[in-house]
C-alpha cells in the first residue's frame, strides 16, 4: 500500500506545478489548465487525508463538491475566454488590458 506521505507529496508537487504555471503563463487557456491542476492537487490531498482518517467521509464528499465546482468554473472560464477571443482576437491575458488606465 502506498504510504500516506507519498500522496501528500504528490499533491504538493502538483499544486506547486499548477501555481507556477498559473503565475508564469500568459495564455489564458494555460492559466485555466493550471488552475485545474491545482484543484486536482487539492482533491488528491483531501482524498488522501480521508484515507488516513477513515472514521467518516468528509474528505471524499468535499472532493465531489470540488469536482462539481471545477466543472462550473471551467464552463464559465471557457466562455470568458471565447468572449475575450472574439473581442480582442487573442487569448493572452497580458493583452486583455481594457481596464488599464
Amino acid at each position: 500500500m502506498v504510504p500516506f506521505e507519498h500522496y501528500i507529496l504528490l499533491s504538493a508537487v502538483l499544486f506547486t506545478v499548477g501555481s507556477v504555471g498559473f503565475l508564469v503563463r500568459r495564455n489564458v487557456l494555460m492559466t485555466l489548465l493550471s488552475i485545474e491542476v491545482m484543484l486536482n492537487a487539492v482533491n488528491l490531498a483531501l482524498v488522501a487525508f480521508n484515507r488516513a482518517r477513515p472514521e467518516n467521509h468528509t474528505g471524499q464528499m468535499f472532493a465531489f463538491f470540488l469536482i462539481a465546482a471545477e466543472a462550473a468554473e471551467v464552463a464559465v472560464g471557457l466562455a470568458i475566454v471565447l468572449s475575450l477571443y472574439r473581442l480582442k482576437r487573442t487569448v493572452r491575458s497580458d493583452e486583455a488590458d481594457l481596464l488599464k488606465n
Binding site: L99, K100, N101
Partner: protein, 853 residues
Amino acid sequence: MTNALMTLFPPDAFTLVAVILGMPLLGALINGIWGKRLGNNAVRLMALTAIGVSFVAALLSFLALDTLSHARKDEHVRLVWTAWEWMTTSGKDSAPIGIDVRFSIDALSGVMMLVVTGVGFLIHLYATSYMEHDEGFARFFAYLNLFVFSMLVLILGDNLPLLFVGWEGVGLCSYLLIGFWYQKAENAAAGKKAFLANRIGDFGLICAMFLIAYYCGSLDWKGIADHASNLVSSHEAAQVHVWPLGGGQYTGVLSFLQPKSPFTITAATAVGLALLLGCTGKSAQIPLYVWLPDAMAGPTPVSALIHAATMVTAGIYLVCRMSFVFVLSPFVMTMVACIGAATALFAATIALVQNDIKKVLAYSTVSQLGFMFLGVGVGAFTAGFFHVFTHAFFKACLFLGAGSVIHAMHARIHDGDLSQDLRKMGGLRKYMPLTHWTFLGATAAIIGLPGTSGFFSKDEILFKAFINRSEYHPALKGTLERLHAFQPPTWLGPVLYGVGVAAATMTAFYMCRLYFRTFWGEFNGWKVGTPSEVAAQEHGEHGHKDHGNDHLQIVAGPAPKESPWPMTVPLVILAAFSVFAGFLNPGFHIFALPPMEHWLEPVFKDVMESGTIAVRAGGEHLEFPLAAGGVGAFLVGTSVAYWMYIAQKRKPADAIAAAFPRLHRLMLEKWRIDELYEATVLAAVDSLAETAAAFDQWIVDGILAKVSSAVVVALGAALRVLQNGVVHVYAAMMVVGLTSIGWFFVVPHPEAVVTETAGDYVIVAGPGMGYGYRWDADGNGRPDTETFSDQATVRVHLDLGKSQVVRLEVKNAFGFTAGREISLSRPKPEPTLELGSLGGQIAPMGRQNGGQN
C-alpha cells in the same frame, strides 16, 4: 349635547384635539404633495375644509371647556390629551424630566385657538379669491395650512419644548410665506431677515428652557408653576452669577476683572430676560422689531393672518402662559412694560409718515403689540390678552381691507409698490362701499372709538399701567437689601400711562390719515372713464402732477371695482367683531354678558394672589378719570387728522413736512434703524464671517487641504503601480497574501489574558488550531509538566508586594513551539490611597486579547 361631548371626550383624554390639529396638517400634506395635480378647485376645497373642520372642533372644545368650568367654579380647568411620550431628559441631580407630546386647552389657549381657527378660516376664504390667479395657488395653501397647524401646536402644547416646536414651525411658515414671491430678490431677503431676527429670539427661548429645566426640574406648565418658587428662594442656589461668569474667579492677568462682590441676579430674572428675548423676537418688539415691516413683502392674507392676527401675538401668549415666572422678577416685569411702551410710541412715530398702505399697518401692528406688552408687563394679563383678542379682529380686517384696495388698484397699476401707495389712492369709498364701511369699522376699533372693542382693551391696559406696580415675591422680602434688589420707581406708572396715551393719540392720527387718504378725496390712481372721455377731460386740466411719481404713465381705465364675495364676506364678519367684541369684556361692568375677564381669571388666579402685583392706593377709583386719556387720545388724533387731510386738504401736513425736512425724511426712512443695525450688528457679523472665510481660505484650504491632498496623491501614486490591470500581478499578490495567512497558521502564537481579583490571578491562554499548552506557573524556571496538554488556564495567587514570572509554552499541530513570559507583580498600596483602588499590575504585555484560530 354637552353631556354626550363630555362622555365622548373626557377632560383627561380629550382626543378632539387630534381633529383640531390633524385637519390643517392633513390639508398641508395633501395640498403640498398633490396640489398641482389636483387643480385649484380641489385645493380650495381641501384648504377650506381643513380649517373649517378644525374651527368646528375648536368650537366644540370650547363648549366642553365652558361646561367644565361651570361645573368646577373658580378652578383652572384644562382639557388634556397626551398623544405619546416624547422623551425623558434629566435635570439637576439627574432627576428625570419627562417630556410628552401633550396638548391642553384652558381658557387662555382656548380663546387663542378659536381666534386662530376662526380668523384663520375667514382669511383662507379671502385668500381663495385674492390668490386666484397666482401660479403658486396650491403651494400657498399648503403653507397656510401648515402655519395654522404649527400655530395650534404652539398654543395647545402643554410644555415648553412642544411650544417650541410650534414656535419654530410658525417661524418657518412665516419665512416661506414672506418669500412666497421669491423671484423678486427683495422678498426673499425680507423672508431671510424675518427668519434671522426670529432666530436671535429663539436663542433666548432655548436658554430659558435650559434654565427652567435646571431650576424647576420640569418643563410642562403645571410643573413649572408648582416649582416656580425655586427661582426666587433667598437661598444661594437661586442666584445666577452674571459677573464673574458662573461664579468663578479671575486670576493672573485677568484679576483686574474680578469685582469686589459678585454681581448676581435671581434665577427668575435670568429666566424672565431669556424668555423676554424670545418674545421680542417673535412679537416684533424693540430691539428685534425690524423684521415685521419688511414681512409685508408677502401676500396680503399672510400679513393679515401671520403678521397681524396670530403669530406675532405668540410672544404675548408666552408671557401670559409663563406669567407665574415673570411676576417673580419686578425687574423683568418693568423691562416688559418699558419695552412695550417704547415700542408702541416708537413704531407709531414711524407710522405717521409712511406712504405704503401696508407699511402703515405693519408699524401699527408693531405699535399695538407694544401696547399688549405694556399690558402684560404691568401685570394686567387679562387686559393684555384681551387686546390680543380684539387686535386679531380689527387688524385682520384692516389688512384684508387693504388687500381688497390693492386688489382693486391692481386692475390698472401692476407695479407692486405703486399699487400700495397711499398717494395713488383716494376717493375709493365711492367705488368700494363694502370695503370702505368695514375698513371704517376696524379703524374705529383701533383708534379707540368709545364702545368699540379696541377702546375697551386699550383703556384697560392704560388704566392698569397707571395703577399697577410689580413687587417682590413674599419669599424674597427679607433678603432684598442683601441682593441690592431693583425696585420699580413710583413715577413709572404715570410715565407708562403718558407714553401709552401719546402712542394712542398717534395711532388715532395715522389710522385716520390712512383712512382719509385711501377712501376720501379724489381718486389719484388713474383717470376714470373710457380713453376718449379722459382725453376730453385732460384738455381742460393741467398734466397730472404728483409727488415725484411723474415717471408713472397715467393711464385711463374703468373705475376701481369692489372685490368679489369671498373677499367681502370675511371683511364684514371681521368688522362686526372689531366693533362689537369689546362687549365680551366690558371694563366698566355695564353689560350683563359673561365677561372674558372671568373666563381668564382662573388661569391667572395664582399669579394675582401671589402678592407680586400691587395696586396703587385708591387706584380702583381712577378707572373713569383715567379713561379720559384714552378718549382724549381718540378725539385729538382723529380731529387733527380730519383737520389736516379733509378740512385743509393736506396743506398743513405738507407744510410741517417742508418745515422740518430732515426730521420728516428721518421718519420716512424709519429713523434709519435698519442702517444702524447694518453698520453695527451686521458689520460685526460680516467681519467675523470674513475672518472665518479668510481662515478657511488660507489655513484650511491653503495648508490643511493641500497637505492632506498631497498625502492622498502620493499614496495614490504608489498604489496605482499595483493596480496595473495585469491579471498576473493580481494573481501574484494573491499568492503573497495567501502565503502570509498560511504562515500565520504554521507558527504558534502564545497569547494570554490575565485577570486579577484580590491577589488571585487567572491566566487564560489564547486558543488555536491543534494547540497544546505547557505552563511554568510556580516560577521555578522549569515547566510544571513534561508534556503539552490542553490545559489553557492556570491560577496563581500573589501576596502584597510580591511578583512572579509565569511562562507559557504553546505547541501547534505542526510541532512548532513558542513561549512567552508573563510577569505578575502586586505592589503594596500607598498609604494615601484607598485599598483596592490599585489592582494587581501586569507587566507589559503585547496583546491583551489572545483570540485567534
